[in-house]
């Protein structure tokens, strides 16, 4: 019950109660003390009275044993004596006194003195003895109830009043006192309630107080303050989290946007690619219909010119007008030449457009040889050449495009006749069995022959060995290109071997049974499955040139393969080829080529994907890729990481010059190796030269700077610790010279670099290699990448690329005859 009271009431009650108990106890003590004192006084007074009356009684008894004159009446003066008596020795009552009004009786004498505690009475029996003789006994009984009442009850009343007053005072004082204790608690409670309800941590309990409550308030305040701080921190953290969440949302949105953009880009690219493909197809279609039209439109007037010239010539001859006839013959000759040219150009265009059809028929090659021999005879006679025929026995018949074979043989023979004077031209035909049944026709002459360089361009359209030869010997320069294409259409080939000054031999290889043309596709391309194309045949002349590097051709067009294999083979490149993009990737991984020539339009997997895959593989990403495209939308490929592009039909000179710029061996400016330790330098130089890099060496920094002034290198491999001028000095010198600033530097050092130095170097050098911790592949890759980037950067920025005097410049473009 007490527990349920509010604290302040409990406190009040406690204080009041304690005061009451204290007061009560002191009061009781006082009363007890007063009572004891009263009793003692009574006893003393009674004893005094007793002694007086004992003496007087003794005297009276001595005088008379019955003491007749003795009276106890004088005891009236003694208010506390309630009764008195005098007994004789035989207990006969001699005198007695009773207080008036008292209800008393006189008892028989006893030998005791006692306090009757119950009635607050003192009873005493005093024997009166003289000389050992009992004279009598004196009895006294004292009691004073009024006095006792006065002595005890009166102060008790006052005390009670005092007690009550004290309690009241205690009560009120406690009321005041409890406030000092309970008020802080109540205030704290209120503050806590307020904080809990309003989450207002700025609330402080403001109360003048001391002692424990002050400590409590202070503790509470500091607790609230701590909470407030925590709350503030929490708020800040929350806001930060909120901010971060917002940022995340923004980033997510941006990411989504980027994704959308990316998707859009992919779509756009795909659309562009499709567009390019459609354009290519359209262009091809347009080309075909143009060809069909042109063949008619060009030939019709030629027919008229030739026909009327012939009529006029006949008339002139009939009429004996020889001078007119001679002029007409010239017109006819020129017209026939022009027609031949037109036919050649149209043929070539048709081949390139894949529109050249084969007309397969069975015939006797011996007959063809006879026909061609008789047709070519006038040309043979012109340069006083002798035509020798060598036909193997039992040639049998073959199944091929007779007209085209005849044209090929005629072309080769007329070429031989043109470039040979007073010599012998041999036409041979043999049936050879290798993997299959072949016919081999050979046209050999004893003419001027050709150099390996001339041979390389031999089968290119419009390329005659020398521009001047066209003027001297005439001809379109298309004959060989067409002949080779015709042979290839039939699944065969035309190859050549030559020694300058001694003569040339052309070999025509045609299958005995040519498969009928499959639709509009070039027969050979359709017939052969995708497989690596072996390096081209003309090894005899190719071996004469230094090894220029490996080229991988990925193109589904057989004609492209064969043309490029011959061209690049003759130019000294080792050529590998495939018609399948995936296989190209596999070949490249097996033996990384130096350059890849990639067709953009492949049947199974498009060139763009292959390009991306090449660029995604660390071992292949540095390999320059030259794209072969149909359209001029080259920007697409270059943005995808290709080094350059050529359009179909491929221009040999352009391709060769691109290859030259791609190939390390063809790098005109050398790589500078700056290293003071000769054996180390030797190792690096050997490593680089083995990879066909041109190298220049410097023994220290000063020498390096000197060399750089005359011939800036395309990359510097730099040692740091060197005499005269160290690597840091070289770097400083290079970075302040605008011509040298962008030359890549690869630092090779044996010192343990501190982070500081390493950071410094990384700002100034492209790469830092700690000696003994890198592989030579890593170094070479870095060299390739850096040089590649450097060349690109220079060619883009238009800074003239420093070219030293060199006689190995790209071959001059041949003017078309």
């Amino acid at each position: 019950m007490l527990n349920r009271l509010p604290l302040r009431w409990r406190l009040t009650l406690l204080i009041t109660g304690v005061s009451a108990v204290t007061l009560g106890l002191s009061l009781a003590g006082y009363i007890t003390l007063e009572y004891l004192r009263f009793r003692q006084e009574l006893t003393i007074r009674t004893q005094a009275t007793e002694r007086f009356y004992a003496a007087s009684a003794t005297a009276a008894l001595q005088a008379n044993p019955s003491a007749p004159g003795f009276s106890l009446k004088a005891l009236e003066a003694e208010s506390m004596i309630a009764a008195a008596a005098l007994y004789s020795p035989n207990n006969k009552l001699l005198a007695k006194y009773l207080r008036s009004g008292a209800d008393e009786y006189i008892p028989l004498p006893r030998s005791t003195r006692l306090w009757d505690l119950v009635n607050d009475e003192l009873i005493s029996f005093q024997p009166l003895i003289v000389n050992g003789e009992l004279l009598g006994t004196l009895y006294l009984k004292a009691s004073s109830p009024e006095e006792a009442r006065e002595r005890l009850l009166v102060p008790l009343r006052g005390m009670a009043a005092l007690f009550l007053g004290s309690i009241l005072i205690a009560f009120f004082v406690s009321r005041v006192l409890q406030r000092s204790i309970s008020e802080p608690i109540i205030k704290l409670a209120e503050a806590a309630r307020h904080i809990a309800a309003d989450r207002d941590f700025s609330v402080r309990v403001d109360l003048e107080s001391s002692g424990e409550s002050a400590i409590l308030i202070q503790a509470f305040n500091s607790m609230v303050e701590t909470i407030q701080e925590r709350d503030a921190e929490l708020n800040v953290a929350y806001q930060k989290a909120e901010h971060a969440r917002e940022n995340l949302a923004i980033t997510n949105a941006m990411l989504a946007e980027t994704n959308r953009t990316l998707e859009a880009k992919v779509t756009e690219r795909t659309a562009k690619l499709e567009e390019a493909m459609t354009a290519a197809k359209e262009a091809n279609k347009a080309k075909s219909s143009f060809l069909a039209k042109m063949s008619h439109e060009l030939r019709t007037p030629m027919n008229a010119i030739i026909g009327y010239s012939e009529i006029l010539l006949e008339d002139a001859e009939d009429g004996g007008d020889e001078s007119t006839a001679a002029d007409l013959r010239k017109i006819l000759s020129a017209a026939r030449h022009l027609l031949g040219l037109i036919n050649d150009v149209l043929d070539l265009s048709k081949i390139e457009a894949g529109r050249m059809d084969l007309y397969i028929e069975q015939f006797d090659p011996a007959t063809i040889i006879g026909e061609v021999a008789s047709t070519i005879q006038p040309l043979m006679d012109k340069n006083h050449n002798r035509l020798a025929l060598e036909t193997g026995e039992n040639l049998g018949s073959m199944s091929a495009d007779m007209t085209k074979l005849r044209q090929v043989l005629f072309n080769l023979l007329s070429n031989a006749a043109k470039f040979t004077s007073n010599g012998t031209i041999t036409l041979s035909a043999h049936r050879v069995k290798r993997d299959r049944d072949w016919f081999e026709f050979k046209v050999s002459d004893t003419g001027i022959g050709m150099t390996p360089e001339q041979l390389g361009k031999l089968f290119e359209a419009f390329a005659q060995a020398e521009a001047s030869t066209a003027a001297k010997y005439g001809g379109t320069g298309l004959g060989l290109a067409i002949s080779r294409q015709f042979a290839r259409l039939m699944g065969g080939d035309v190859t050549v071997t030559s020694v300058a000054g001694q003569g040339t031999t052309f070999s025509v290889l045609i299958p005995a049974v040519v498969e009928a043309g499959k639709g509009k596709q070039p027969a050979a391309a359709a017939a052969k499955p995708p497989a690596p194309v072996a390096p081209a045949a003309p090894a005899a002349n190719a071996s004469a040139l230094p090894h220029q590097g490996r080229v991988l051709i990925i193109d589904d067009d057989t004609a492209v393969h064969e043309a490029l294999t011959a061209l690049l083979g003759n130019a000294g490149y080792a050529v590998t080829g495939t018609r399948d993009g995936r296989e190209g990737l596999a070949l490249a991984l097996a033996q990384p080529p130096d350059v890849v020539i990639l067709d953009m339009l492949l049947p199974s997997i498009d060139g763009e994907s292959i390009l991306n895959r090449f660029k995604a593989v660390p071992e292949l990403e540095h390999i320059p890729i030259i794209l072969v495209t149909l359209s001029e939308k080259e920007g697409l490929g270059l943005t995808l990481g290709a080094s350059d592009y050529v359009t179909k039909p491929i221009e040999a000179h352009r391709l060769l010059s691109i290859l030259t710029s791609c190939r390390p061996g063809q790098l005109k400016t050398p790589i500078m190796v700056v290293e003071d330790d000769a054996p180390t330098r030797e190792v690096i130089v050997r490593l680089l030269t083995r990879e066909n890099w041109p190298v220049v060496q410097a023994e220290n920094g000063r020498q390096a700077i000197e060399i750089m002034q005359t011939a800036p290198p395309s990359l510097v491999l730099l040692d740091l610790l060197m005499p005269e001028l160290d690597g840091f000095g070289v770097l400083r010198a290079m970075r302040v010279n605008p011509d040298w600033r962008d030359i890549p530097v690869v630092v090779l050092t044996s010192i343990d670099l501190t982070n500081e130095i390493r950071n410094l170097l990384q700002q100034q050098a492209n790469r830092v290699f700690q000696k003994g911790t890198y592989s030579k592949e890593e170094l070479l890759r870095e060299v390739r990448t850096s040089v590649d980037e450097f060349i690109k950067r220079r060619s883009v920025s238009g800074v003239p690329f420093p070219l030293p005097k060199s006689n190995s410049a790209a071959p001059p473009a041949n003017p078309k005859p």
């Binding site: 063949s295 008619h296 030939r299 019709t300 030629m302 027919n303 008229a304 030739i306 026909g307 009327y308 012939e310 009529i311 006949e314 027609l339 036919n343 043929d347 059809d357 084969l358 007309y359 495009d401 007209t403």
Partner: protein, 124 residues
């Protein structure tokens, strides 16, 4: 004199070839398109027909097919005059029933040889 029907739409070609054939003693009949050519062949019964393949109305192939389908003209040999080296044109001509073909521009000597080979021997 052997009678040759020349079906040719190009005026110059027609003129040249007819003049040169006439000069060599052939009687030359002229038609400028496929249908007149077929009609003329039926009425005139030439000894040989030189048929251009690319004609504006009925093409040379269609005309040849029509002639070879008609018993009245089936026996008349037809030499197709085709564009240069168009294998499919030649194959089509032979498929249409032509007996021989010659590419344009016409090599007169070669053509004359083919004409002589196809003309009925001593019928005259």
């Amino acid at each position: 004199m052997p009678k040759i029907l020349l079906v040719e739409d190009n005026e110059m070609n027609r003129d040249m070839l007819s003049r040169r054939l006439q000069k060599r003693g052939y009687t030359v009949l002229i038609a400028v398109d496929g249908q007149p050519g077929v009609d003329l062949a039926r009425t005139e019964q030439p000894d040989l027909i030189l048929m251009d393949m690319s004609l504006p109305g009925i093409s040379g192939w269609d005309a040849s097919r029509a002639l070879k389908a008609d018993p009245a003209t089936v026996a008349i040999p037809i030499i197709a005059l085709t564009a240069h080296a168009m294998a499919e044109d030649r194959a089509k001509a032979l498929a249409a029933g032509c007996n021989e073909f010659e590419t344009k521009p016409v090599d007169l000597n070669a053509l004359l040889a083919k004409i002589e080979a196809l003309l009925p021997k001593p019928a005259a």
